[in-house]
């Protein structure tokens, strides 16, 4: 044992803050860097380092690069763009070094100061990161978009000119977005009525204060509205009134591409619209684990926006919320569904919030359902990462373990909370993929 362990972590009091990334003086990562005792546990947990020998790993990207940067004139190493922002290293570090925060900051600086804004890579990353904009256009003409995006010659051009891999199929755009459905259904008013009826049925006080603000994110709005609808129905069945406030992309793809200014703009809109609701007693719930991760952790780590802490504190993942607030286990124990078996993959961003077990635990008790965990490997796609032509192979190598486990599992339907993991699972195995909320809807509604 190292006797210096008694010194404990550096405490703020006798430190001179040295801010290296950014010049606003708000971000002092020095105590974090000082906490690193070079055990390399983070490196052995990094899925990219595992398959890509050129990637120096999180210890270098985080504390080491941070120290190097203190010297005048040293640049951020371009390998920072190979970090997929899975945030696994955060979870692994026994010393609580804020690795992903260091990576996000370094990546932001790299993109701002060292990346050629006219380069194909930059433009491509910007388009991928701003998925919502493309999705918005596509959703206006979903059938045409579905055809055009997966049309051979288009894909050839996209790969050659843009560096977007032609190996993948673009996700289909729904013919009706969630928000369109929500509006047609009667919006918050309809939800209030449904919730009241449910409370009466359940014998809860009719005026119980049960209300949530739904952060649906881009994907369940444009691509998988069935997930969003499942959330609405499940929450209403427990007596919750739902609102779906104005929102933009959570910013996850932007952090991962070093587009911090874009992410901050999106965050400002999201925080503004959710902060008011939180003040009125709403909790925020998300059905995508990367979205809840962004609101909970990355926003307060990276930005200084009024109300950000309140929103972070009151944001939950949907299933997690019900487990804390309701007797979800009891409800599941009384329910049953048609026989089915699932191969479950826990997304990295669920893992990092301590949510990697909840679907397994819950559905283990559901009559008719068999759930198998397909292991703890990363799926490899990490949002926009696996869409980049130069990263495609790495992404598939990382996912290999998961594909194998899925094939070995009894079920041939996959399950996960993350829409891009779902994309990768489907791509690697051809399986249909469901969200836990969909199974919950089947069981309870």
């Amino acid at each position: 044992m190292d006797p210096s362990a008694t010194d404990g972590p550096a405490t703020g009091s006798d430190l001179e803050p040295v801010s290296v990334f950014g010049d606003d003086g708000t971000m002092d990562l020095r105590p974090g860097a000082d906490n690193c005792y070079k055990c390399s546990v983070c490196d052995t947990t990094c899925p990219v380092a595992e398959v890509d020998d050129d990637f120096p790993g999180p210890k270098f990207q985080g504390p080491e690069q941070w120290r190097l940067k203190r010297k005048e004139g040293s640049e951020i190493d371009d390998s920072i763009m190979s970090c997929s922002n899975c945030m696994r290293c955060d979870d692994a570090c026994p010393s609580s070094v804020p690795l992903s925060q260091m990576h996000n900051t370094a990546r932001g600086e790299y993109v701002d100061e060292q990346m050629d804004k006219l380069s194909v890579e930059y433009v491509r990353n910007r388009i991928l990161a701003n998925y919502r904009t493309s999705a918005w256009f596509a959703s206006k003409v979903p059938r045409l978009a579905n055809f055009a995006m997966n049309f051979g010659p288009t894909r050839w051009v996209m790969e050659k000119a843009m560096g977007i891999t032609s190996e993948r199929d673009f996700p289909a755009f729904a013919t009706q977005t969630f928000r369109e459905w929500w509006r047609n259904r009667g919006g918050a008013d309809a939800s209030r009525r449904n919730a009241r009826e449910a409370r009466e049925r359940r014998g809860d006080p009719v005026d119980a204060d049960k209300k949530v603000a739904y952060f649906h994110g881009c994907y369940s709005n444009y691509n998988t509205p069935e997930v969003a609808k499942a959330l609405v129905r499940v929450f209403e069945s427990f007596g919750y009134e739902i609102v779906a406030p104005e929102q933009r992309c959570s910013g996850t793809p932007m952090f991962a591409n070093g587009m911090l200014a874009d992410a901050e703009r999106a965050a400002e809109v999201n925080v503004a619209s959710f902060a008011d609701l939180v003040e009125e007693g709403y909790d925020a719930v998300a059905s995508c684990t990367s979205c809840s991760m962004a609101l909970r952790q990355e926003y307060p780590e990276l930005f200084d926006i009024e109300g950000i802490e309140d929103v972070a504190e009151n944001t939950f993942e949907a299933l997690e919320y019900l487990r804390i607030k309701e007797d979800l286990e009891g409800a599941i124990a009384d329910a049953s569904v048609e026989e089915q078996a699932f191969a479950y993959h826990a997304p990295c961003h669920a893992r990092n919030q301590g949510l990697d077990r909840q679907a397994l635990e819950l559905f283990r008790e559901l009559d008719g359902v068999a759930m198998e965990d397909v292991g703890d490997s990363c799926s490899g796609i990490s949002g926009t990462y696996g869409w980049k032509e130069e990263k495609y192979e790495t992404s598939m190598k990382i996912g290999e373990d998961m594909f194998e486990h899925m094939h070995d599992a009894a079920g041939d339907v996959g399950m996960t909370e993350c829409p891009t993991c779902a994309m990768q699972m489907e791509h690697g195995t051809g399986y249909e993929i469901k969200h836990p909320l969909q199974l919950l809807e089947e069981a309870l509604c």
Binding site: D2, P3, G8, E50, A92, E313, E326, G354, R357
Partner: protein
């Protein structure tokens, strides 16, 4: 409040895992909460029960909070001699010579056996050593010999007690293991066999500071014929290979396919092949962690990791729930009985700053000298007070306050968070965790299901 179990174990190291398994055996519903990965990933993967009894007054039963004369404050740490220790052949026979406050004395030899039995069941056939009470002698990467109670199957052919001529092989560029130096060290220690060391290039080229996992994976998948080429490289380095009965490599001979890698190398080298435990990050430690977590799954233990326990709610001297910080918000986890297994100073179960030493989750009493200079000795391997910092158990492993009364009716502690053992010098870390984990978990289960 919806998250509730009979028994809640806080801490996901070897102590927490053992406590959870023991509690589950009693039929209780159990949840294990852990913040981060455990220190197993850094540990050697060996299960030491009691390898040595320090003989410099640190184990004379003295209260670690007691008045000790201040060390020479001007002498730099690391100088001076290593504290004297007496090596232990049979841990069970030696327990009586430990200080009275030692956790082994509290739980007794029976609990050590229970812990080892739980461990043997949990890891299936992956570990050896269960056939005897006596310590086995394992070759370490520093070229010393370490008394240990359980060791991975792949380490077994290398035991120092076997009189078999041995070749140690290290990889160029891997600074952690210097095979010729380790061999010389072993030879000087008088091991009962001939031992030599050789350094070879690993057949697949990696970046300079490549990780153990990369080596392991290359051998797992036999990337570019790595296994054959590794065997050839060993032959080239030591033409006299026929003279050796066994060949030892640092523990990176494959991960998922470790067994196949070793068999393959054995066939090619015509000698048995064994692994030498490495420092962090340790493949053997990581594999052990995986085995334990698989066992927890099989036992139906619920797991929640990623968020720290930061406090509790209590009434009438009993804990009602533990509060888990879920990024800014505290979520209560309720149970009947609780086990604290958050580790020592390294695992973050015991916290220290310049003024004091504390147990951060429940605020349990941790005795320590007033003066910070008395926390450690000038010698790096001396009998440091800090090594024995931890909560003080009553005779039922409940952390006790200054008066000796249990702090809470339904809280027991296990593993590194307990004071009174100098596990690094005694070579007893995993054993203390197993014995106290088994005891605390079983008691918690009994109470909760009563």
């Amino acid at each position: 409040m919806a998250i509730r179990e009979d028994v809640l174990v806080v801490g996901g190291g070897i102590a927490g895992a053992t406590a959870a398994l023991a509690a589950a055996e009693s039929g209780a519903t159990v949840r294990l909460l852990s913040h981060k990965k455990s220190t197993l990933r850094q540990a050697s993967g060996l299960i030491d029960v009691l390898g040595a009894i320090p003989r410099d007054g640190s184990s004379d039963g003295a209260d670690p909070a007691g008045d000790r004369s201040p060390g020479d404050r001007t002498e730099p740490a690391g100088g001076g001699s290593t504290g004297e220790s007496e090596l232990v052949a049979d841990p069970f026979e030696a327990i009586g010579r430990l200080p009275e406050a030692h956790p082994y004395r509290v739980v007794g030899g029976g609990a050590i056996r229970d812990g080892l039995e739980l461990f043997d069941d949990a890891v299936g056939g992956a570990y050896e050593g269960a056939h005897t009470d006596r310590n086995a002698l394992v070759i370490t990467h520093g070229g010393t010999v370490k008394p240990t109670a359980r060791y991975p199957e792949s380490v077994a052919p290398g035991l120092a007690s076997a009189e078999r001529d041995t070749l140690l092989v290290g990889f160029a560029g891997l600074t952690d293991f210097d095979a010729p130096a380790a061999a010389a060290h072993l030879d000087a220690a008088g091991v009962p066999f001939a031992v030599d060391g050789a350094t070879v290039e690993f057949p697949v080229r990696f970046r300079d500071d490549a990780l153990t996992t990369r080596f392991a994976k290359a051998l797992d998948t036999d990337e570019s014929n790595a296994r054959r080429r590794l065997a050839d490289a060993v032959r080239d380095a030591d033409a006299d290979l026929d003279g050796y009965d066994r060949v030892g490599f640092p523990a990176m001979l494959g991960d998922d396919e470790g067994e196949a890698v070793r068999t393959d190398l054995e066939d090619r080298l015509g000698a048995s092949v064994f692994q030498i435990p490495t420092g962090p990050p340790s493949l053997l430690g990581t594999q052990l962690e995986d085995l334990l977590f698989d066992a927890l799954d099989a036992a139906g233990v619920r797991l929640a990791s990623g968020n720290p326990a930061v406090g509790y709610e209590a009434s009438d001297g009993r804990i009602d729930s533990v509060l888990v910080d879920r990024r800014g918000r505290e979520v209560p986890y309720a149970a009947e009985e609780f086990v604290l297994a958050t580790g020592g100073l390294v695992g973050k179960g015991i916290d220290s700053d310049r003024e004091s030493v504390t147990e951060p989750v429940f605020g349990c009493h941790v005795p320590h000298p007033e003066d910070r200079y008395d926390w450690s000795e000038p010698e790096a391997f001396g009998g440091h007070a800090f090594a024995r910092f931890g909560v003080v158990p009553d005779d039922d492993l409940r952390p006790a306050g200054e008066s000796g009364e249990p702090e809470f009716e339904n809280l027991r502690a296990a593993g590194g968070v307990l004071g009174g053992a100098d596990t690094a010098r005694e070579k007893s870390a995993a054993g203390v965790s197993l014995a106290t984990g088994a005891y605390a978990g079983r008691r918690a289960g009994e109470e909760a299901t009563r």
